[in-house]
Amino acid sequence: MSVGAPRGLASSGQKPITEILHPLSAAEETLSSGPDVTVNVGGDQESGLTNGTPVETSSPASASLLFNRLQLDDDSEADARDPYASTETRDLFVTVDDPKKHVSTMETYITYRVSTKTTRIEFDLPEYCVRRRYQDFDWLRIKLEDSQPTHLIPPLPEKFVMKGVVDRFSEEFVETRMKALDKFLKRVADHPVLSFNPHLNAFLSAKDLNKRQGLALLTKVGESVKHVAGGYKLRARPPEFCAMGEYLDTFTQKLGTIDRIAQRILKEQSEYLTELREYGTVYSSWAGSEEELRRPLEGVAGCVTTCCGALEDMSENMSQDFLPVLREYVLYIESMKNVLRKRDQSQAEYEGRLEAAILRKQEDRTPMPVEVEKCQDKVECFNADLKADWERWQSNKRQDFKQLLTGMADKNINHYEKCQAAWESLITLLQEKQTEDKTSETN
């Protein structure tokens, strides 16, 4: 379970945000305040509100923070198995819907309505309704990545679409993309740390998203994390992170295989559908030359047509709902791998500096420099964040795939049920006729 323990959210008022937030995230400088002060993490508090202040705070504070975090982690283990325990205390709800096409002189693009309902005080209003386009989501994601480098940011649907191949304005494409954007936003809003990010706040509430706003806020921490000196080599990656990496590699492979299988099934189904349609027409045309058999033959033709329709529906569903989710998870895995890499780099930096410092210490007895301690903090925070996010991700993955696969099973069951109903009603019809005939014969 990640840092955002269910009990600790701002709305409950039990634990102030300050104690929960990552030292590298917003409201860093208000650490020294007392436990009852709630911090306005809203976008208007510009002064000194740097997202992700560099870790210049005093060590004791950060150490105590670390301590708190560890405690929280221990407490939250019980909740690790049930990631959705927090839903009861959720106070931020977002939805993406209502796609609309905009035509301007320069370009044509789609916007989506982003609706927010919240009781969080970081937001001025309880409800918001804004329109955003894909670019805006992309901006948000980049901002989140930059400002929360130790966290796993959910993926966005593919940015680039081959103009000739895919129709960017077709209903299916827009629908699929919208669902993915909705999922992205929901995942961010559910994340105990990401959801408090001021860029998210701006994204959800600002009338006009001034994307330049982010530039000034471009974090020094973002830089400092990115600023990993090239020369550092990782000594020994802790086994749990090795295991994560291996898992992700294998999982990607399996997802790829499943994707290929699903595509192959769609292809086979499409060819089957073509033949099935032809098959139905043969019954129809035969019916034309028959008298007594006309109704039964037409009945069969009708059933075949119904089955064709049912199959078409199912295929469309698989194509729109199943495949995109699979692909999205592949992107998610890539994000996770990125975070793992950054963690490695951060550890490597720490080890490098530590080694250098030790050498110097041996030479001229200078005390351990602060930078090294800060690095150590960074690494430990990173590790903790990552582990927390990993657990959360695993949970979500389990739910997502459970939903995905049961959905697939349901579609198939539904398809067969439709077909069965059609054939059963045909039999009733035919057998009725038979008894009619028999009674008329004996009369």
């Binding site: 999982f251 099934i265 043969v282 058999l293 059933c303 049961t406 069965q420 035919l430 057998q431």
Partner: protein, 433 residues
């Protein structure tokens, strides 16, 4: 040994009690006036491979089929005597059918199962020795015998009776009937089709219908085979899910068990298509039977064309001979003819020659009149009997095909139920993930 026909009364009236070994007998086939099947229970029980030397002394392998017969009254009484039996090859069945076609050209002859596997979808074997093919052929042969033995006309045939009861020497007896000489030449039949002037309208309609029936059943068989092929592909690809779920489950903790079990169900799903499609072959066989029946129906219509044509020819011939007689007798030429012209140009013949010619003509005319009488009777008899049998056939066809369609729907429902079952099982496993 089967008994003679005097025990008809013992036979049960409830026809639906009579079932063949595979239950293929239905009400359609047992009718009023069918004698043989009422007296005798017939079935084609088994198939066996044999080896022997063929006509050109080469070693060959072939299949023989065991025909079992039992007197019906024994069965009705509840006694269970051992059946009489004999072995026959497919070629002997063919011989029997050819004999029946020639001997009863006004009957729509029940068809044999196909000689070679046709309308095959790719996984189905086209090999005549394949056990599934042999089994379906066995059923088809039994079906043929039951149809023949329950036909009001065909069932009385002695050759048929021999076929069922005397294994040895049957072939010789058939050849002795000389039926092969009576067979119409293809060429004659074809020429009749083009040149006949006044065929019975109903027969022409029936012939047209037979073309339609043939065209539609063969189209349907082809389309069905293609559909089967594709459906096979869809099911089999799902088997890949089985493998990947299994591999995936290896790296999962809580999700592992559910995934693994679901994978097994996917394997089961993929495997289920084999039985489903094998069962559907039975439907295809029913369609094939009527594809062949269409041809038999057309043959009856063509026989009418031939008979009618021969009658027309004979009548025409008689008319022209009578005309010649008149011309010769009166010297008046009514119609233009080269003979007439040359006569005018070169003078007429001598009186003795004329006498001789007239006498010959008279003989020919008498013969011709006989011929016309015969042909008229032939034609009328054929029309009468054929019409009756074509009506019978029509009713049988409507009933049989409707049954076939109902059974097809039943098969489809069964397939849907299986699908629902498997996916429900898989869903349960997913829910446990």
């Amino acid at each position: 040994m089967a008994e003679d026909g005097k025990d008809d009364s013992v036979a049960t009236d409830d026809d639906s009690d009579q079932t063949a070994a595979d239950g293929s007998l239905n009400n359609t086939m047992v009718e009023e006036g069918s004698t043989l099947l009422r007296r005798m229970e017939i079935c084609v029980a088994e198939a066996e491979k044999r080896s022997g030397k063929n006509a050109v002394s080469m070693q060959e392998t072939f299949t023989v089929y065991l025909i079992e017969t039992r007197p019906m009254d024994a069965v009705a009484d509840g006694r269970n005597p051992a059946p009489d039996s004999l072995w026959r090859r497919y070629s002997e069945f063919e011989l029997l059918r050819n004999y029946l076609i020639v001997t009863y050209p006004y009957i729509v002859a029940p068809p044999l199962p196909e000689k070679r596997a046709e309308f095959v979808w790719h996984k189905l074997s086209a090999d005549n020795m394949d056990p599934d093919f042999v089994e379906r052929r066995r059923v088809g042969l039994e079906n043929f015998l039951l149809r023949v033995a329950s036909h009001p006309v065909l069932s009385n045939d002695k050759i048929l009776y021999h076929f069922l009861t005397e294994e040895n020497g049957w072939k010789e007896v058939v050849y002795e009937t000389g039926f092969q000489a009576k067979a119409d030449s293809r060429l004659r039949a074809l020429s009749a089709t083009f040149r006949v002037r006044n065929p019975d309208k109903r027969f022409m309609e029936m012939k047209h219908y037979s073309d339609e029936l043939q065209s539609h059943t063969s189209q349907l068989l082809r389309a069905r085979a293609r559909v089967a092929d594709r459906l096979y592909g869809v099911y089999k690809v799902h088997g890949n899910y089985g493998r990947v779920f299994s591999e995936w489950s290896a790296i999962e903790k809580e999700m592992g068990d559910g995934l693994q079990s679901a994978g097994h169900h996917m394997d089961a799903y993929a495997a289920s298509i084999d039985d489903i499609l094998e069962e559907e072959e039975h439907y295809a066989d029913q369609l094939k039977e009527y594809l062949s029946y269409a041809e038999a129906l057309r043959a009856v219509c063509r026989k009418h064309e031939l008979a009618q044509f021969e009658l027309e020819m004979a009548s025409q011939d008689l008319i022209s001979k009578k005309q010649q007689r008149e011309e010769l007798a009166t010297g008046i030429v009514r119609t233009f003819s080269f003979k007439g012209m040359t006569n005018k140009l070169f003078g007429q013949e001598a009186p003795e020659q004329r006498e001789a010619k007239l006498k010959l003509l008279e003989e020919l005319i008498t013969e011709g009149e006989e011929t016309v009488k015969e042909k008229t009777v032939e034609c009328e008899e054929h029309v009468e009997r054929a019409w009756v049998d074509m009506q019978r056939f029509k009713e049988q066809k409507d009933k049989d095909l409707r049954e076939a369609l109902i059974n097809y729907a039943v098969m489809q429902i069964s397939m849907c139920k299986k699908g629902i079952q498997v996916w429900s099982n898989a869903k349960e496993c997913f829910l446990k993930m």
